[in-house]
Symmetry: C2
């Protein structure tokens, strides 16, 4: 039976879904349960990674270092991962996270910008961490570009490179071609991270594993940004049906999902009209609020704005474009 390593992101991607309001007690309870259930890694950070707590990205209710420390103190089998987006988090943030007990770092960049991560990957290795490169919005780049960028990550020292479907915009064949290409081009491990905007997170996860990915992200009750992630406890059941071993005790994981995560949730992880349109268009979830404002200002449909941005392959940082698109739609 092939082995798949599960990384649970409830305490990091889920941070978005609870407006960064995790408490130490909540994180401790979830960490204790994940450790007991045999989940190899789980991630604890602000939703936008180390240092994300800010007016721009949302203030954390509790210092993330305290949360990392609480989580790490519960680990006897599991290890705590942290996410680091260069430009948001710093090398100092990473050193502090290691002091707090982190054993893995995932350095995340836009799919075409792996080169900004070289120092952070190198530092991760120097600090003795399991070190991972995380290519976000991977649906936006053609396969050759994904391979090129993944090779950069590997050359810096990444031990795993992730294909990350940040917008939940991929279909299984999109996952298959990317993971297979990395499988052929790299010697390190391949990971996959899904969002459920098109209700395809689980099918995409199965496609990734069948194509050779061995590190897979999920979150309990799907707690994560937008429509949420692949639901970890469901994935354990589904992967087992496909003949893959996760080493996770399903009943124990179900208990954490039901007793610890469900009560924390501020709203259910549904596919709303907003998250569907984001997934359909394949644009950043941070565009939604701007599109709503621009739609009101110019008297156009926010969905048309998002669809247009998707066709233009707009990326984060191009928020001004949203208002230009709205104006053009008004004229048209």
């Amino acid at each position: 039976m092939s082995q798949v390593t599960i990384l649970d992101v409830s305490l990091r991607d889920g941070s978005h879904a609870v407006r960064h309001a995790f408490t130490e007690a909540q994180v401790r309870a979830a960490a204790k349960g994940l450790n007991a259930a045999g989940v190899r890694y789980f991630e604890v950070s602000h939703g936008d990674g180390l240092g994300g707590s800010s007016l721009q990205y949302g203030l954390s209710a509790t210092d993330e270092l305290k949360l990392i420390e609480a989580a790490a103190s519960e680990c006897t089998n599991s290890d705590v991962s942290v996410l680091l987006i260069p430009g948001i988090g710093t090398k100092q943030d990473l050193q502090n996270a290691v002091t707090a007990g982190a054993k893995m770092v995932r350095v995340a960049t836009h799919v075409t910008e792996a080169d900004v991560a070289a120092q952070h990957i190198q530092l991760g290795r120097e600090l003795g961490l399991k070190t991972v490169g995380f290519l976000m919005m991977a649906h936006m780049a053609p396969v050759e570009k994904v391979v090129e960028q993944a090779k950069l990550f590997e050359s810096y020292g990444a031990e795993v490179v992730y294909v990350t479907d940040s917008a939940g915009a991929m279909l299984p064949q999109d996952v298959t071609v990317r993971v297979e290409a990395l499988r052929d081009a790299l010697t390190c491990d391949i990971g996959f991270h899904a969002h459920n905007n098109l209700s395809m997170a689980m099918a995409n996860t199965v496609a990734a594993v069948q194509a050779g990915a061995t590190f897979i992200d999920g979150s309990m009750r799907a707690l994560g940004a937008g429509a949420g992630n692949t639901q970890t406890e469901v994935m354990v059941s589904v992967l087992e049906k496909y003949g893959y071993a996760t080493g996770i005790d399903l009943y124990k994981l179900l208990d954490v999902a039901t007793d610890v995560i469900a009560p924390i949730m501020q709203q259910p992880q549904e596919i709303t009209a907003g998250s569907l349109v984001l997934g359909h268009a394949g644009v950043y979830s941070s565009f939604l609020l701007h599109a709503q404002k621009a739609a009101q200002q110019f008297g156009v449909d926010e969905r048309d704005i998002l669809m247009t941005l998707g066709n233009m392959k707009a990326v984060g940082g191009q928020e001004d474009l949203i208002y230009e698109v709205a104006q053009q739609l008004q004229r048209a």
Copy 2:
């Protein structure tokens, strides 16, 4: 572009999720929206079909004939379907539904019991209805059995035969082999109805369409029994990405989902521990409550009871078995 006919079951399968409390005003608003969005058929009945309102299956807050009438009065493009489970609904119920405005009947039986439906299918045709056979719990029978039973439906006069994954227990290959076999063996149309207990409803739906199904069920916001159905508005987006036409205006459908269905929901359509275990074990959702009672009585884990029942291929009507299994687990 191939055409797929969508049948929305929010107002029938969704009846379970709102404890059969739909009001005339709610049904009218949803019907108006579905008709405007171009959804060809939508179903209105008690969750367990015509005549389901009872202490055993749950009392309807509003007489279903009034709901059917309200829905039908809003239809200029769409047609109203009703579900009929022989033994729960009667031929008289069907005649009354037709008087109220129903234009389609779906006669539902357990996957091995199509023969109980002969008279009802024949009556549907006599009444001039679009007439459909609906094979529930289709994962429990091998492909040859599904084909045999579907042929019975066709011989009675069914114009469409559905493969129905009542427990949300199927994976895409389970769907593919069943739909392809029916495609080869029947001349009538093939339909598919999914539940999302394993987070595979959308992938299973795509598999069904690719294998030749042309009638597909969905529900807005996934409102339905257990973990809910394939989410209709998401399906419209996904099928379009796969190159299938649904004839549905996505924006109009999103408006119904957001403005009419979401406010009606009593709880979100999440995959809870209970619905996951039902899907994993592949057993009737009505077993859950009995399993919980039996677990308490015999001091065993309800999940072990359900998994054992799944392995035994227990079917509805065998509720006594649940307590026997609990007792055996206690002894073991």
